[in-house]
């Protein structure tokens, strides 16, 4: 076999092996998106309900509570950025990190100091490589977060929020950057302010807002609501990010598989041409050799 042909064959084999891997990853992600989507849907009622309750308190109550009354002069903000643990998902993690950078520079221009809290190995590596300060990080569950994971993350965010800003680690505001799962094909990174809860600009059309009577006191209720509210929203953000991660990975792996197909096609063409060239060359060598023999023997007689 000619050297050229052997090289083409070798490359085809390696591309085919890669294609098998990318194809498998594509299929795995497709099946996981559905499950992740169902989990997002299952947690939505709780998140919507608790957010409604908290927003209506923020809108209609005069109670002073750090959760609903914004500090007049905020100094520090916590930003939680949710990314993936693994790569192979196209621009998914980078898009979230970039969205986080935009938010952080915005906050800094308002004179705030920003503490970065990170979820996902990709964000942690990004920050470590650039020597940026990390206030807290969690890894290992980005593609399948549980409520306990969300609780763990929320706990340190809440501690930071309730700590006085004067002392170390305290923050006045809490933002979360995650990837919103809009549909199978659209996922957009967004940044959302979680705390303090702000009253909505226009009144809700469904008329769910109301004056509330508090069983025990407003303060007790708010104290109990705060951690649950943060947990629910962080959990929902994590689940949406997980669904987006799978969707992004599926798309990236699909285009990788398609590219592998293209490559195999063009390599097959090249290999065929090389084989043809080899045959042609061998034929002409045989014919040439036979002719030389024939003319040599004709000359001797």
């Amino acid at each position: 076999m000619g050297a050229q042909l052997r090289i083409y064959r070798r490359r085809m084999r390696s591309v085919k092996a890669t294609k098998k891997i990318t194809r498998a990853m594509e299929l795995i992600s497709s099946s996981r998106i559905v499950k992740a989507q169902q989990r997002v849907r299952a947690t939505s009622p709780y998140t919507i309900e608790i957010t409604n309750v908290v927003t209506s308190i923020a809108t209609y109550s005069n109670t002073e509570h750090p959760m609903i009354s914004p500090v007049s002069n905020p100094r520090r903000a916590a930003v939680l950025i949710i990314t993936a643990d693994r790569g192979m998902a196209g621009a998914y993690s980078n898009a979230a990190i970039k969205e986080g950078d935009i938010l952080i520079s915005q906050l800094k221009s308002q004179g705030l100091t920003v503490d970065a809290y990170l979820v996902g190995r990709k964000a942690v590596n990004f920050y470590r490589f650039r020597d940026r300060a990390i206030a807290g990080s969690w890894t290992g569950f980005s593609d399948n977060p549980t409520l306990d994971n969300a609780r763990e993350v929320s706990a340190s965010l809440i501690t930071a929020f309730l700590t006085d800003t004067e002392s170390a680690g305290g923050v006045d505001q809490l933002y979360v950057v995650y990837t919103e799962f809009k549909s199978m094909i659209t996922q957009t990174p967004i940044s959302v302010a979680f705390l303090p809860v702000s009253a909505p600009q226009q009144s809700e059309p469904r008329g769910i807002m109301a004056m509330y009577e508090f069983e025990s006191s407003a303060e007790t209720v708010l104290n109990a609501l705060l951690p649950r509210y943060v947990e629910a929203r962080v959990f929902n953000a994590m689940l949406q990010s997980a669904a987006s991660e799978h969707a992004a990975r599926r798309r990236a792996m699909k285009s990788a598989t398609d590219n592998a197909d293209e490559l195999i096609k063009s390599l097959t063409r090249l290999a065929n041409a090389a084989r043809q060239a080899e045959i042609t060359q061998e034929l002409s060598e045989i014919v040439g050799g036979a002719e030389a023999l024939a003319s040599a023997s004709a000359g001797s007689e």
């Binding site: 004056m211 069983e215 209720v221």
Partner: protein, 86 residues
Amino acid sequence: MSATKLTVEVVSPEKLIWSGEATMVSAKTLDGNIGILVDHISLLGVLEPGVVSIKAEDGSVADFNMADGFISVNKNRVSILGEQVK
């Protein structure tokens, strides 16, 4: 507006546990036991660990053993937010 029944939802952080219509909901909050009937004032309370019972129109009662949570009542919509005892 006088509705004749309550729309009740029991939701945990992970899923919707129960939803439907009822005539009465009783629960135990920090201040004690409360019963909620139609046209109750808007209320928000912290639940004590205990049983939340929902009495449906046909008289059947659904009990939920809650570990913690909140009860929110607003315009005949009752939401029980919390986790069930496992």
